[in-house]
């Protein structure tokens, strides 16, 4: 997603002297609140403007793609000119562009994203059925990747230059640079396809086996199908968290407040957990929010390799036609979630870091 919301966020600049202080001085609180209301209003307005821009853009963006949906859908099939005209009529492509645009805006106000050309079903319904699988897969992977990344990043940063640091950073960066598609296929070939006499440990794709019934069985079956795609995603994703956590911890390492903490006689472990990590977490929180916003858009590559029926695949299917209502709807949905999560990050951020309240 190439969307970027305009939210200037202090990326652990030189730590302000009062960073270690628990909060603002009580006497200054009323002023702080007034300022923060304005802060929220500005952010909210920004988000609304972005959303509006997305709505307008998405209509025109996908109409720039060359192609004739009717020709693409009827490709290789017998059709009479009447059948083609009927499809054009059904899709509303027989109307002038401005009329199509007005209709699109009108439907959008009613939260109606239109009818998919290919599936003849409402786009909102299609998104709803595919949202679950994507949230499950990418959500799980993001949580694991973030937890793993933060943990390893902390360890690596705290002992910079140690063997552990070099190994963790090296492994993470290697996995980060590996093509997702290739890694996924490798997992399938080795752990599912039975290359070289390996047992078939995992299914090669999909989210479930067709014959399984009963809640308990379905949960096991789904978990079984999730192992490889989640592992692939985690392998590729966790490096970002690791690197950010590591570098922001390094930024904090020289701070005076850590010296103070040590001088108080705190154990190294406590200095890390109570003082350094909370401060170093801030940039990672930002990243996490951004990533959660993108979770819904899925990851086309992993979904494709593992035949995971998620939104990423849906978007791909839509683009190849082009199934205009479907790609428009998805584009708006993806953008809206990123915008929303950014907004949420903006709102939550002051709770973590008093410095941005002004």
């Amino acid at each position: 997603m190439s969307l970027s919301s305009s939210s200037p966020r202090p990326e652990s600049e030189a730590a302000a002297p009062d960073a270690a202080a628990p909060g603002p001085v009580p006497g200054r609180r009323p002023a702080g609140r007034r300022v923060s209301l304005r802060y929220f209003a500005v952010k909210l307005l920004g988000a609304l403007v972005s959303l509006l821009a997305v709505m307008v853009t998405s209509f025109f963006l996908f109409r720039v793609i060359p192609g004739d949906p009717v020709a693409a859908m009827t490709q290789g099939r017998k059709v009479t000119p009447e059948q083609r005209e009927e499809l054009f009529r059904q899709f509303g492509l027989d109307q002038p562009l401005w009329q199509q645009f007005l209709g699109y805006l009108r439907d959008l106000l009613r939260l109606d994203l239109g009818l998919s050309y290919q599936y003849k079903a409402p786009v909102t319904e299609l998104i709803a059925t595919r949202l679950g699988p994507t949230l499950l897969l990418v959500g799980t992977a993001t949580l694991i990747a973030a937890a793993l990344g933060l943990w390893l990043g902390t360890r690596a940063g705290w002992r910079r230059g140690s063997t552990a640091d070099r190994v963790h950073t090296g492994v993470a960066l290697t996995l980060f640079s590996v093509p997702t598609f290739w890694l996924g296929l490798l997992m399938i070939v080795v752990l599912a396809g039975g290359a070289g006499g390996m047992p078939h440990l995992f299914p090669t794709g999909g989210m479930g086996s067709p014959d399984v019934s009963g809640v308990g069985n379905v949960i096991v079956d789904t978990a079984h199908h999730m192992v490889l795609p989640v592992a692939t995603l985690v392998a590729v994703l966790y490096a970002q968290y690791l690197m950010i956590m590591r570098s922001s911890l390094l930024d904090e390492m020289g701070s005076d407040y850590l010296v103070t903490a040590r001088a108080k006689g705190l154990r190294d472990d406590l200095v890390l957990r109570r003082h350094a990590v909370p401060n170093a977490l801030l940039p990672t929180v930002t990243l996490l929010f951004l990533k959660i916003g993108q979770v819904v858009s899925g990851t086309i590559l992993v979904e494709a390799v593992f035949s995971w029926p998620g939104l990423g695949m849906l978007f791909y299917e839509g683009l190849s036609v082009p199934d205009l209502p479907l790609v428009q709807g998805l584009f708006i949905f993806f953008s809206a979630s990123v915008i929303f999560m950014n907004l949420l990050a903006d709102f939550v951020y002051p709770l973590f870091d008093p410095r941005v309240r002004t």
Binding site: K78, Q83, G193, P199, T204, D221, F306, S307
Partner: protein, 594 residues
């Protein structure tokens, strides 16, 4: 925290696993990997190959095609006759066909299905072409169907329209939006019944034990969706699927499967031809010029010389690894009745020297840098539009660039997206453009693509793919559609192919084969079409799965064992990671204490 959650998830669910394995026991299931989900389950609007094939299994048709010869044979219609004026077809409908809800299937259902498509535009979305020439369809009694035509039509035994139950479908208000996916099992009449539609994951069919032709041997056919072809092949190796056939395996995949245990590769004759068309000076039906095709290509000599410069055998060997047939006439070799091959001096075989001589004689002088000049003095440069999402087209295109260079034609290869290809075609903005069609047992439709009427009425509304117009061809086309004698009709169809071949506007390069892999420990045999040498998937008819014999040893247990081991391994990994974490933390704390 997330690690703990994963342990909890896997751990809590583990005891339930053995039950999942048993759910499958005692049933013969055939699982096929499918590369796309169904678009709609309504036969009136479904367009995708997977959907139309599934409809073949769950709905019966008026006629079917013989698995061995591809000739039309009785299905719902037991016999038929035509009136003296050739305009009325009367079919005798069998009285032992039933809907899966127990109601009898009568001629009334057939008449209703056809009439709905004639009267409701939305219901004509997918198959309207079949009824375009119908005047009236009636059911005088439950076993008689009468179709009155506007003009004689020889394709009346090739009406590929699934017949739907009137008592279920007459309540549908909008055929453009009804996807037939609300109630399962779907009321049908074919050898299988669609019982389950796991949206985005797969579709389950179950055998119709009361089918009038006899019950299928497999209890279940499951279509499982895959989005990656290599993953499909791995699923075949692991035994998760019994058959991988759509899309056709690549030659590399087929070769890699050759030695695999319990796997057989079926290398079949294909339904398709691939080739390219030459812009002969694109025009609308009214003769208005479209686009910017190179005017030199109006010269038949140049077009024929291009064909003589192309080594079709090399394409078959190098692009398709031998899994294809050399293209000759317009109809693939699979359809023996209509297959035509040029003879003797008419043949435009690979012969660059002869091609060079033809061009020299016709006044295309060789210019500087090995590029000829047209008689008008322009350099002979042609644009060639190739679909970049089809690796076989791209490879073929690269070879053609070289071969045409050898006879002094400079080719600008434009390897672009299919959407752009159709834009170039519609706009007439190409010189050579790749194309290919799946051909049905009845050739009428693909032949119709090259009549003068297939050219656009106005720019953008083209039905064909060549802007071809030859009065002689059109005359033959009209003759074949009115010729009810199969042999005489076949003779006309062959003559049409000769005209196409000579004009060298529509050029066939190859008939790619279908490569299909299946597990012999799950399926003992399939009925291929045509037999021998035919394909399993995408048949005209339901023969492959209907006649498929289950293998004796059921391998259903293998998957669930794998599942248990897999979950066990996952638990070990997760626990190991957890232990590692705990140990690291302890040792770190110990370090700190010192």
């Amino acid at each position: 925290m997330a690690v703990a959650a994963a342990i909890a998830l896997v751990g809590s669910a583990l005891p339930a696993a053995p039950a999942a394995a048993q759910a499958d026991s005692g049933q013969q299931t055939l699982t096929m990997a499918a590369d796309q989900p169904v678009d709609s389950l309504s036969p009136f609007i479904a367009q995708r190959l997977i959907s139309t094939n599934i409809h073949r299994y769950i709905y019966d048709f008026l006629t079917n095609y013989d698995p061995k010869t591809n000739k039309p044979i009785p299905a719902l219609a037991e016999s038929w006759e035509t009136s003296d004026d050739d305009l009325t077809w009367t079919y005798k409908i069998r009285d032992d066909a039933k809907w899966s809800d127990g109601k009898p299937l009568t001629s009334e259902d057939i008449a209703w299905t056809y009439t709905t498509m004639m009267e409701d535009e939305a219901a004509a979305t997918a198959n309207g072409n079949f009824v375009a020439n119908f005047d009236k369809v009636t059911a005088p009694d439950p076993t008689t169907l009468e179709i009155k035509l506007k003009k004689p039509q020889a394709t009346m035994l090739a009406l590929d329209i699934p017949i739907v139950p009137k008592h279920v479908w007459e309540n549908v208000d909008d055929f453009g939006k009804f996807n037939n996916d609300e109630e399962f099992p779907i009321v049908g009449s074919g050898p299988f019944e669609l019982t389950k539609n796991d949206e985005n994951q797969g579709i389950t069919l179950e055998a119709n034990k009361d089918y009038w032709r006899g019950a299928p041997k497999f209890d279940k056919v499951v279509f499982k969706y895959f989005s990656d072809q290599d993953a499909m092949v791995e699923a075949l190796k692991s035994g998760e699927v019994s058959l991988v056939a759509q899309p056709s395996l690549t030659p590399a995949q087929a070769n890699s499967l050759k030695g695999a245990e319990n796997i057989k590769v079926n290398s079949a004759t294909g339904k398709r031809f691939n080739g390219f068309t030459v812009n002969p000076g694109a025009q609308t039906q009214d003769g208005e010029k479209i686009g910017d095709g190179n005017p030199a290509l109006k010269d038949k000599v140049l077009r024929q010389a291009i064909m003589k410069a192309i080594d079709k055998e090399a394409i078959v060997d190098k692009v398709y690894g031998g899994y294809a047939e050399v293209g000759e006439g317009y109809i693939p070799a699979r359809y023996k009745d209509y297959y035509w091959k040029p003879e003797g001096a008419d043949r435009l075989d690979f012969d660059p020297e002869a091609a060079n001589k033809m061009l020299d004689d016709a006044g295309y002088k060789m210019g500087d840098g090995g590029v000829r000049e047209t008689p008008d003095g322009d350099p002979l440069k042609l644009r060639m539009a190739v679909h970049n999402d089809k690796p076989d087209y791209v490879d073929t295109g690269k070879f053609m660039e070289e071969w045409l260079k050898d006879i002094g034609i400079e080719i600008e290869g434009q390897y672009v997206d299919s959407n752009l290809i159709s834009e170039k075609l519609n706009g007439g903005e190409y010189d050579l453009i790749f194309t290919g069609w799946n051909v049905n047992p009845d050739p009428d439709y693909v032949l119709g693509l090259h009549t003068c009427d297939a050219r656009p009425e106005e720019k953008g509304s083209m039905r064909g793919d060549a802007f071809y117009c030859n009065k002689e061809y059109d005359k033959l086309y009209d003759q074949q559609i009115e010729e009810y004698d199969p042999e005489k009709r076949a003779a006309i169809v062959k003559e049409m192919q000769q005209v196409l071949y000579e004009d060298a506007v529509v050029n066939v390069l190859d008939y790619p084969g279908a490569l299909e892999g299946y597990r012999t420990d799950q399926v003992a045999s399939f009925q291929v079409q045509p037999d021998p040498g035919g394909n399993i998937w995408g048949q005209d008819g339901y023969w492959s799965f209907y006649e498929a014999e289950p293998a004796e040893a059921d391998s259903g247990g293998g998957i669930s064992t794998g599942m248990l081991v897999g979950i066990g391994a996952a638990v070990v990994v997760v626990l190991g990671a957890g232990a590692f974490l705990v140990l690291r933390r302890r040792s770190a704390t110990a370090d700190d204490r010192e």
